[in-house]
Amino acid sequence: MGMLKIKEEELAFCLKEIASGNEEILEQFYIDYGRVILTLILTIVKTRESAEEVLQDVMPSIVTHNKDKPFLNASAWLFKVIQNLSKKKAMEDSAMKTEPLSENKELTSGENISESVEGSVDQIEALKCLDPMEQQCVLMRIFCHMKLPQVAELLGLPYNQVRSKYNYAVKKLKKYYQEGGGLT
């Protein structure tokens, strides 16, 4: 079972090795961080199937990265990759179900896709009590060891809003687990 919590130095080392073609590290990385990455993706895309597709797209992004470029802020870089690919997939899924996207619609416009596409964490009961943004705040803070201002920057939200969402989310999770939600 993986370690789940992402350590910045180790992550940077792994990404560099993967970008250099180290298959063994790739497999270890996948075991260590795959579940957290998949959970993060599930906060943005709607279905498990789509999330697995995105997960398989995240890995080539690392492999094809220029190995000579250092990863100075590895967790932020990785989250950006996850976020961009997930949003793209969410938009594609959404477009397939509804009308086609207008020509001017751009993924980088800063539009909050999560607001238009309901996130779904279908296997983690605890996270179901949180909205997609709260899920992302919790995962990035707890598992990626990001500071809340950095989370705010990456999510494109005001800092105080992220802080409120995070505190509120932790309270909800506390309530959930105290009521025995984690026991099966």
């Binding site: 073609g21 298959e23 063994e24 890995m59 094809t64 961009n84 605890a126 932790v170 984690g182």
Partner: protein, 340 residues
């Protein structure tokens, strides 16, 4: 229930997710990458114990780092130069101009004068408030860990209590405690009134223009930071400036974050200015290394140039720490490259 316990239980839940196998496409990609680069073969560990290999690599890297640090220190000590001079010079090397040669010493001096004048106002203000502050002697890695938005081009000052982070424009963007081991006791002695009073004093001293604005104070005893104070102001240039101060339960200031986001100042919106900038910097004439859209960070601000408001756009490629700065005319969309 503590937060760590919540995190632990959530970890257990996430551990139960079924992970699909790595696709053949990914494995093929990594194999072809290895074939492209024969040197990568040497980096493949012989042992199957990945942790041991990682540890060895870390130790080797640490030794190299120690060696790299010790050589300049020995050189500096042997020539009786003051360390502060070295720090000043190193700051110069971090500027865009990338002065890299002793033969260009006069260029360095000019650059220092220019840098100095850029931040004179803020430095005086800080000295008035905080006493003697000096350029930080901390390493880039230490500063990256302590600050939320540090880049090598930033100017960072510190005193015994706080670190002051100035962005490339010379604007104070963050203050944080100068003690990474600071661990506030689980004591809640500061009430809302005390926090309001203290925040008002800080804002009055450092951000007087924000003094008239409404102060939003939020607190939660079971969290750290315990208190958050937010002040927002719409500037004349239409940018929205926000200052957030955080305190522990005793009312000790932990961190101040200053953000500024511009609205539209002409026919072209700030997001359109970003799009035009990204298009411009990809032109071959600038010889800018290829940017990876996935990893790029963009900041946009408003600046008055010859009595006209312009967008100033900073593009930072995180992995390579490469910066580009452009000016975008809000009416015509004309992009002028300032730094690349």
């Amino acid at each position: 229930m503590k937060r760590t316990e919540v995190a632990e239980m959530l970890s257990n839940d996430i551990s139960c997710i079924k992970l699909p196998p790595i696709s053949d496409k990914v494995l093929q990609a990594v194999r072809s990458k290895k074939q492209e680069d024969p040197e990568a073969d040497e980096s493949v560990p012989e042992s199957h114990n990945t942790s041991t290999v990682r540890l060895t690599k870390y130790l080797f890297a640490a030794m190299l780092l120690l060696l790299a640090i010790s050589i300049p220190i020995i050189v500096v000590l042997s020539t009786n130069n003051k360390i502060s001079e070295v720090i000043d010079n190193s700051q110069t090397f971090n500027t865009f101009s990338k002065v890299s040669d002793d033969a260009e010493k006069s260029e360095q001096e000019r650059s220092l004068v220019s840098e100095g004048s850029k931040r004179t106002l803020d430095t005086i203000k800080m000295k008035k408030l905080c006493g003697d502050v000096a350029l930080s002697a901390k390493s880039d890695q230490e500063l990256e860990n302590l600050l939320t938005s540090y880049s090598k081009q930033n100017d960072v000052y510190e005193d015994s209590e706080y670190i002051y982070n100035f962005n490339i424009q010379g604007k104070l963007i963050e203050i944080c405690r100068n003690n990474p081991d600071y661990s506030p006791a689980n004591i809640y002695t500061a009430d809302k009134e005390y926090i309001a009073q203290k925040s008002e004093e800080i804002i009055k001293d450092i951000f007087p223009a924000m003094l008239e604005q409404e102060m939003i104070i939020e607190g939660s005893e079971d969290s750290l930071p315990a208190w958050f104070v937010t002040v927002c102001k719409k500037n004349d240039d239409l940018s929205l400036e926000q200052i957030t101060l955080s305190y522990d339960g005793t009312g000790t200031l932990l961190r101040v974050n200053i953000t500024q986001e511009p609205d539209s100042i002409g026919k072209i919106s700030s997001s359109e200015a970003i799009r035009l900038t990204l298009k411009e910097i990809r032109m071959p004439k600038y010889n800018v290394p290829e940017f990876d859209d996935d990893s790029v960070e963009i900041y946009v601000n408003v600046k008055e140039i010859s009595d006209k408001l312009m967008y100033i756009v900073f593009v930072n490629d995180i992995p390579s720490n490469t910066y580009c700065v452009t000016l975008v005319d809000p009416d015509t969309g004309n992009v002028t490259m300032l730094e690349a």
